[in-house]
Symmetry: C3
Subunit: 142 residues, 3 copies
C-alpha cells in the first residue's frame, strides 16, 4: 500500500456557480489556490449529469449521461498532483425524482444547479499520479 | 462563486437516539451546542426514510417516502445559519435488502434505527442562507 | 444520545493494494497503526462487492454479493474499539456500468481494484462497541 501522513492546512467552505461545469469549477479552484494535496466533499443538485465507469477490459472510461435535474447525494474525493498540476479525483452519486440513484466518476458535463463544497487542504508529502500497469489508470506510486 | 476559509474548532463523534427523527436530532444538537458553521457525515440505518427532491419548475421539494428498514449508506452535509439559527443541509443515501439505493435531501420523517455521526465545527466567517432568485432555494450569498 | 469531543491527531491519505480485501485492508491498517478513534472516507473501484443489510427481525446481516467490476461511489465510516481492538464501521455505495447503485455495510469479500482512502485519527475519549439490546448490533454506550 501507499500512505502518507498529513496535517490540515486550510478548510474551504463554499459553493460553485449556477450553470457552470462541476468538474471544471473544482479544477479551476484548486489550481488557482494551488491546493496540491487535499480532500473534497460536496452536495447539491445538477441540471444534468455525466458519470464515468472505468472498464478494465478496454481500459477506458465509459460515459453515463443522465439528462435531467438530479440531486447530488454525495461527491467524495481527493486532490493530488498530475503532470505538475493539482487534480481532483471525485466520485459522484446523484438521484432523480423517484429517489433512484446513479453514480460514477466525475467527468466533464455535470452542469451545476447548486453545489456546496468542503475542500480540506493538506500539508505533507506531495503525491503524483502516474500510469499504473496493473489497472490502466493513473495512481499514486512509491 | 462564494468561498470562505476556516479552521477546525471541534470534532464531535457520537450517535443519535434510536426511534428519534434524524433531521430533528441533528438540528437539536447543533442549536444546543451553538455550532454556527460546520460539516456533518453519518452512517447507520433508518426504520423508514423520507427524502426530498427539489423540483426547479415548481420550486418545491417533493417528498419520497420509503416505508421500510434501510441502511444509511451515507449522510453528507454542512452547517450554517438561517434566520439567525444553526441549520443543517444534509443529503442522504439509503439502501434496502437488495442493495437498491434511494437518495435525496434530508427531510423530517427519517426515523433512526442507528445513526453514527461526525460533526466538525468550523471557526471563521459566518455564512447565512437567503432566498436565491435563480434557483428558488436558500443559498449562501456575498 | 452519546457524544464526545475530539481533536484531529493525524490525517492519512493513501491507497490499499490491488487484489486485496477492502475490509481486511482497513482493519490491518488501523490495527498496525493503533488508530483507536477516527473517521474514514474512500473512493475507487472493486472487482466484486459484498454488502451487508442488517435485518432487525432476524438480528443478522444478510449478504448482498455483486460479482462484477463496480465503481466505489463512496465509502464512509468511523473507527472505534471493540473487544480491545480498533474496528472500522464502514458503509459502501458501489455502481455498475449503467450507473446503477448498490449500497450496504462493508463486509469481507470486496476485492479492491483501486481504493484511495482518507483516514483521520482522532484524539479524545475512547468509545467501545458493546451489544445493544434495542437494535441487536454493537454500539457505543455510556
Amino acid at each position: 500500500m501507499i500512505v502518507n501522513k498529513y496535517t490540515v492546512k486550510n478548510t474551504y467552505l463554499g459553493r460553485f456557480d449556477y450553470g457552470a461545469d462541476l468538474h471544471l469549477s473544482i479544477e479551476q479552484f484548486i489550481i488557482s489556490n494551488n491546493i496540491k494535496m487535499g480532500t473534497i466533499q460536496l452536495i447539491g443538485a445538477v441540471q444534468k449529469a455525466n458519470l464515468g465507469y472505468y472498464n478494465p477490459q478496454t481500459t477506458q472510461y465509459e460515459s453515463i449521461a443522465i439528462d435531467k435535474q438530479l440531486e447530488i447525494a454525495s461527491g467524495i474525493g481527493n486532490i493530488s498532483m498530475r503532470d505538475g498540476q493539482p487534480m481532483a479525483h471525485v466520485h459522484l452519486t446523484v438521484s432523480d425524482n423517484t429517489g433512484r440513484c446513479y453514480a460514477g466518476h466525475l467527468l466533464e458535463g455535470n452542469i451545476i444547479f447548486v453545489s456546496e463544497f468542503i475542500i480540506t487542504e493538506l500539508d505533507g508529502p506531495i503525491m503524483e499520479r502516474k500510469a499504473d500497469s496493473s489497472t490502466g489508470v493513473t495512481l499514486w506510486s512509491d
